[in-house]
């Protein structure tokens, strides 16, 4: 069997005395949606920052498409086909929606007219068609999340790292957004997503990794992971699994 598109192998990240990520390993097979979940402060965003090149890990290695990419800077990873969104949206606030997406589109297209056409197409696909001329700072939270996604998508990635794209959206916005993510996967883009919205994780991903206190404590199908005693304890505290089991008569 071929190696998964992304392989994170025993990666650790130390900030002074704090071990934020502790020998975490995970993988994202091509063409699938893989989820990374975990309680607040588990190190998910740190792990994303390492995969996308914003942090150099203290130990461990990362392979993409069979090649060693550990420690490569973000712009080079983007050229390889790794795109990310930020948990805290980072729009180019002074620019229009189209100009925002254009920056991403320029990665593959030097000519402005070609890049503009590509950016416009991506914008429409992500549901920003009516807002292309608007200034990015006038968008709603849902609009900014879409913009974040559109910009990343415009770089024509093989692997898309989504850091809580659904956080802060209301249920109807989430309902609108989930098919968009599924559509990207159908186009052959591999997705690794950090997500707190469990309903979305359940419906989108086939394989889930659970990170707690920097360690991968469980992995498997969403249903398997949700029933895992260690996962329940990580979210709800020590002894919670036993109490839950008792009250549900399990």
């Amino acid at each position: 069997m071929a190696e998964p598109l992304l392989v994170v192998d025993r990666v650790s990240q130390r900030f002074g005395g704090l071990l934020a990520v502790d020998a975490a390993s995970l993988s994202a097979p091509a063409g699938r949606i893989t989820a990374l979940i975990g309680p607040n402060g588990a190190g998910k965003t740190t792990l994303f920052a390492i995969i996308s090149g914003f942090l150099k890990p203290s130990a461990g290695s990362i392979r993409f498409n069979g090649e060693e990419i550990t420690g490569e800077p973000p712009h080079r990873l983007a050229r390889r086909g790794i795109a990310r969104t930020f948990q805290i949206v980072q729009p180019f606030a002074g620019l229009s929606v189209l100009e925002n997406i254009l920056v991403g589109a320029h990665l593959r297209h030097r000519a402005r007219t070609v890049a503009l056409a590509a950016a416009e197409q991506v914008g429409r696909e992500i549901g920003l068609g009516d807002m292309l001329g608007r200034s990015a700072d006038t968008l709603t939270v849902a609009g900014r999340k879409r913009l974040e996604l559109a910009r990343a998508l415009a770089t024509d990635p093989k692997l898309l790292l989504l850091d809580e794209v659904l956080a802060g959206l209301n249920p109807s916005e989430i309902r609108d957004f989930v098919p968009v993510i599924r559509g990207l996967c159908a186009r052959g883009i591999t997705i690794l997503m950090i997500e707190h919205v469990m309903q979305a994780v359940m419906s989108l991903s086939e394989h889930v990794f659970v990170l707690a206190e920097g360690r991968i404590i469980a992995e498997g199908s969403p249903a398997m992971v949700a029933a895992d005693a260690a996962v329940v304890e990580a979210y709800l505290g020590h002894g919670a699994a036993a109490k839950l089991g008792a009250s549900h008569g399990l």
Binding site: H75, A78, F92, L95, A111
Partner: protein
Amino acid sequence: MKSVLPIVSVIAALAVVPLFVQSNVTLNFLVVTLLIALAGQGWNILGGYGGQYSFGHAAYFGTGAYVTAILQVRYGVNAWIGFAAGIAVGAAVGAIIGGLTFRSGLRGSYFALVTLAFAEVLRIVASVAPITGAGVGTLIKLDLRAQALQFQSRAAFYWLILALVALSLLIAWLLERSRFGAWLIAVRENEDAAMALGVDATVVKLGAMVLSAAITAAAGCFYAQYFLFIDAGIAYGTWISIEALLTPIIGGVGTVFGPLLGALVVKSLGEGAKLVAGDAPGLDLVVYGIVLVLVIWFAPRGLIGTVADARKWVLHRSSRSVREAGHG
């Protein structure tokens, strides 16, 4: 800005001025204004489009001026070649300063302070080094021939600096429509987000620094040829660092015409104040200060930026009290 038509019309309008105005005082005023506009456009490439606020563009202005002058005076090099060399060496100094500052990740006020320090170091070196004429300065021999890049008529100098300004406007216009420009603006708006989209922020900033330094150096080269005398305080003085950043900030940062408009406004007000109040030393600086405060207060995006979204500004004013109450 969609087409080059505004640039062509503005330059054409300015080009005919010497046909109607013969006064040397007026032409001299316009030459100096255009010179500052050129230096300001250099700053605008890096500061306006790239968001890297340099406080030390004197480093490039002075290098351009000294290289032009020293090559002629000490090595007998043709003035035109000296002029080109001045631009090239100015760009190289930009590459060195940019390489050191950007590679070490300096941003914001740290970057501003370090650029200021570089310019000051150069000023001090130039004021003691024998090759620059140290405290005495460097005097270029009067030689009113076109091949020596000196002209009998002010109009010829005026057209030369106008051509350079036209070129700098065109560079800014092209920048706005290029991939490099899109990346540079992205770095200004959000460096991390730009990097995630494949932009090599260090290389982009360095490129902008070199282009910026070359343009400001050209202003320095012209200064040397026009006034035929430079010393450390003129060439590397903070006055030019300040004027180079003041004009685009007042005219409109990150806009094609910002530096030109800013230079016209600032220089007119400075001269106007002198006319009214006599030649009190430092009065023009007081005027600059007042204009800067007013612009930052009422038009933080400069005159052009404010005209561009004047409607938005009116709305902002009317809703400001509401929002301030909300933030309180």
